[in-house]
């Protein structure tokens, strides 16, 4: 147990370093884009005088490295700063949207993970049958289409033709829980279709790998049914790779929802990020990217911890 605590601490510190590197890269990348915040905010209406005045107001007349240090200084004290574009607190801008995005990602995960696991186990159980091939073909087809296409197909059939679900996810802070679930179901379904194949194929591959090992053969010889051999004997040993792929896909659900959010007009963090990049609103871009990179780091850490608990050998790599 002490080993695991040590590992978590070490990984968290490394994560901090990663986040710092990420923030530097993002700052550099946004700085390299043509045009600055003042130009993007004023757009066609800019005159040299108003540009100069706005740059002064926004503090853009300072050199880039100084602005970065300022931001970092605030960050260390837990202050995300204020948005360049609208002067609001970044934390208040992000808070509600992040909650919405997490809700959507959570809903998609609740649908996708069990479905993918069950399908993967079934596919391993009935491997190389027509059923296995059909499942693989279907899920791979779903993942091969771009998400917006899947989203439009869902809208066309379930919303425009049948009228079962709303075509846009109009959600506000006052929306009650089940209404919120109902209005988020279509985007969650579109997201689920994008990740199910991944998890399902990984589950199947991990199980099929194990099924060729002698201990499974032994279990079968003892008289265990194929189902028992897969679920009781093989599955516990396949947890590590499955958890890893699940974690990666969960992180994708949080970070990769921009397109689905746009199509369904879901009030999440994706649109905020796009708007902020186009307006060169660095504090907001930084904060959003920080949150998403944290999601990746933490989910990966969680996956590793679970994997190690399930298979202590991973603690001591050869």
């Amino acid at each position: 147990m002490r080993d695991i605590v040590q590992l978590v601490i070490r990984r968290l510190l490394l994560g901090l370093l990663t986040v710092l590197a990420v923030s530097l890269v993002i700052f550099g990348a946004v700085s390299m884009l043509p045009g600055d915040a003042a130009q993007e905010i004023l757009g066609q209406a800019a005159t040299p005088e108003s540009l100069a005045a706005l740059r002064l107001q926004l503090g853009l007349d300072q050199p880039a490295w100084l602005r970065y240090l300022h931001w970092l200084g605030g960050m260390v004290q837990g202050d995300f700063g204020t948005s360049i574009a609208n002067g609001q607190q970044v934390s208040s801008l992000i808070g509600e949207r992040l909650a919405n995005t997490l809700f959507l990602a959570g809903l998609a995960a609740i649908i996708a993970v069990p479905v993918a696991l069950v399908l993967g186990i079934l596919a391993a159980l009935y491997r190389n049958t027509l059923f296995d091939r059909a499942i693989s073909a279907l899920t791979l087809t779903a993942i091969s289409f771009p998400e917006f296409f899947v989203a439009y197909i869902l809208i066309l059939f379930l919303s425009v033709n049948l009228g079962i679900f709303p075509s846009i996810s109009n959600i506000s802070p006052g929306t009650e829980f089940w209404e919120r679930v109902y209005r988020s179901l279509l985007p969650a379904a579109a997201l689920s279709l994008a990740v199910i194949a991944h998890i399902m194929r990984m589950t199947r591959a991990a199980l099929v790998n194990l099924l060729g090992l002698p201990y499974i053969e032994m279990a079968r010889l003892k008289g265990a049914t194929p189902r028992r051999a897969v679920v009781v004997h093989a599955l516990p040993n396949a947890v590590a790779p499955i958890v890893t792929v699940v974690a990666l896909n969960l992180a994708y659900l949080i970070t990769g929802v921009v397109i689905v959010e746009t199509v369904f007009v879901y009030p999440g963090i994706g649109k905020l990020l796009v708007d902020s990049v186009s307006k060169r609103d660095l504090p907001v871009v930084q904060a959003v990217c920080l949150v998403t990179s944290l999601a990746y780091i933490l989910l990966n850490l969680l996956a590793d911890v679970v994997a190690i608990i399930s298979d202590p050998r991973l603690m001591h790599p050869r």
């Binding site: 884009l33 045009g35 757009g43 005045a53 609208n86 109009n170 007009v265 009030p267 902020s276 307006k279």
Partner: protein, 521 residues
């Protein structure tokens, strides 16, 4: 392909119908007789153009549809208002009158108007709200509008505005969406972040850049306006999502319908497509002080080398009107319909090239869709058309990011657009006068500059009309801009949403005043 042909004929019809009236609501023609306005309901608007960098400060407004419809159109009032018919009427001013033949304007402030926080409207509020955009360190987008103001003072109930020179159209400028009136604090400035106004609605929920919910004020000073109980503005940037939303009844109205597919909505019962030819125009400015564009013959050659009707058909799918390089649009008061049209004529273009002493011509045209949706296609289509006249147009694709700062007004020939302005003077002063802040053609014409000043001070309507028409002809025949088309505003509404048939063409959705003026049947 057959559907395409079918659409074509309908488009032609649309084009013809459009030429017969300045601002014509196509949908309204077919709809049933209008009922009297009635109160109630929640109007849900699916609007394009929201963004997470919008702010309550009216000095920053322009790009955010939330602020146009929710701020300018619902929360606030201006001193004056442009009605759907295009007439200017007093709003927070009870009346106004010029003095010193248009150099000084006196606005008598309406009595008994209250802000949503209970304060009573005073002339000081008006002065403070206008002063917000003035001053050397102002970054307001409305700064060029208030630039000619030299002094604002208060005399009892009257706000006295003094200009540096006479301007007969000055009151029109005060209907601009930046110039809303907010309550002044003790320090003489307005706290815009509090979004307190005299308008018909107050904000009950707001998520920046994505959704705004407004509720009607019971004590709104206008008796015959703000009919809805609630107005919900939902930012929907994806055009397919907007179309789906109005088709499935998730919203009652959408802005900026998809012009390539909106024709098919005619088959959906209960939906009405509204179309208005506003002042919005797509432009191609050239620097008239840079070779080869400094030669008028070259400019004329280019003007004859563009097939405007094909542009309207293929870029706007017929949802627009052909323009002949006239920045004054059909929706403007003194629009000159009799300007000599530049019809597509490769031979004439060749002739003017010869006059310029050239065998052929090769020009670079910078384009990005940031200029307007379809700008790159327009440039490519122009290159194709011009090639028949021996002109080689080399289309250079630019990034959308930073287009207005790094390309527009920086390169000699590019794509651009103008929202247009409700008055001739406003449009000319900001873009085509030799000293205009956004003179994107570097065009300098003494006669034009003189007429601009004279027309401002001219109070006789006929003489003003003549002046403005001469100026339109000067820009078209001598200026450095190609304006191939005026683009329509195309919106879609449920047939439950009604208006009085006079839909303003200043901006989308009745000049953004939909919440104030429309109602549910």
């Amino acid at each position: 392909m057959t559907t395409r042909l079918g659409e074509m004929t309908r488009r032609r019809f649309g084009g013809l119908a459009m030429t017969s009236g300045a601002a014509l609501a196509l949908g309204a023609v077919g709809s049933a007789a209008r009922a009297e306005p009635s109160r109630g309901g929640r109007l849900r608007i699916g609007a394009s153009g929201s963004n997470a960098s919008e702010s309550w400060d009216p000095a920053t407004w322009g790009l955010s549809v939330m602020m146009n419809i929710g701020g300018f159109g619902s929360i606030y009032n201006n001193l004056v208002e442009i009605r759907g018919s295009g007439d200017l009427v007093p709003e927070l001013a009870e009346s106004y009158e010029p003095a010193e033949s248009g150099k000084v304007w006196r606005f008598t402030i309406r009595k008994g108007v209250t802000f949503s926080d209970g304060r009573t409207l005073r002339p000081e509020d008006v002065a403070a709200s206008l002063n917000h955009h003035r001053g050397d360190d102002s970054t307001s987008s409305a700064k060029p509008i208030v630039e000619p103001i030299t002094d604002i003072s208060v005399e009892g109930d009257v706000v006295v505005i003094t200009l540096e020179a006479a301007n007969a159209d000055f009151p029109f400028l005060l209907a601009d969406y930046h110039l809303v009136i907010g309550p002044a604090g003790d320090d003489g400035t307005v706290d815009w972040a509090a979004h307190v106004g005299t308008g018909g609605y107050t904000v009950s929920e707001y998520t920046i850049g994505s959704r705004m919910l407004l509720a009607r004020r019971a004590d709104y000073w206008k008796a015959d306006a703000a009919w809805f109980d609630e107005v919900e503005i939902i930012g929907i940037d994806d055009v397919a999502a907007r179309m789906n939303a109005v088709m499935t009844g998730e919203v009652d109205v959408i802005t900026s319908a998809d012009i390539s597919t909106v024709g098919r909505l005619a088959r959906v019962p209960n939906l009405i497509v509204d179309e208005v030819t506003g002042t919005q125009q797509f432009t191609m400015p050239m620097f008239t002080d840079v070779a080869p564009f400094n030669d008028l013959n070259v400019r004329l050659a280019l003007k004859y080398a563009i097939d405007r009707q094909e542009m309207v058909d293929k870029i706007l799918y017929g949802h627009g009107r052909v323009a002949y390089d006239n920045p004054i649009a059909p929706a403007n008061r003194y629009f000159d319909d009799s300007l000599q049209p530049f019809e597509y004529d490769p031979d004439k273009a060749r002739y003017y090239l010869q006059q310029a002493g050239l065998d052929g011509l090769s020009v670079d045209l910078h384009a990005a869709d940031a200029a307007f949706q379809g700008a790159v296609n327009t440039a490519v289509l122009f290159a194709e058309q011009a090639s028949k006249a021996g002109i080689n147009v080399n289309v250079l694709r630019e990034p959308n990011d930073g287009y207005w700062s790094n390309v527009w007004t920086k390169v000699p020939f590019c794509m651009a657009y103008w929202q247009g302005r409700p008055t001739e003077d406003w449009m000319f002063s900001q873009v085509y006068a030799s000293t205009a802040p956004w003179n994107d053609t570097h065009w300098k014409n003494e006669r034009f500059d003189q007429l601009l000043v004279d027309a401002r001070a001219e109070l006789d309507d006929n003489r003003r009309r003549a002046m403005y028409q001469e100026m339109q002809s000067l820009v078209a025949n001598d200026g450095g801009v190609i304006i191939p088309m005026y683009a329509n505003y195309v919106s879609v509404r449920s047939d439950q949403v009604q208006n009085d048939g006079n839909v303003s063409s200043v901006m989308e959705l009745d000049g953004s005043k939909i919440a104030d003026r429309w109602w549910f049947a």
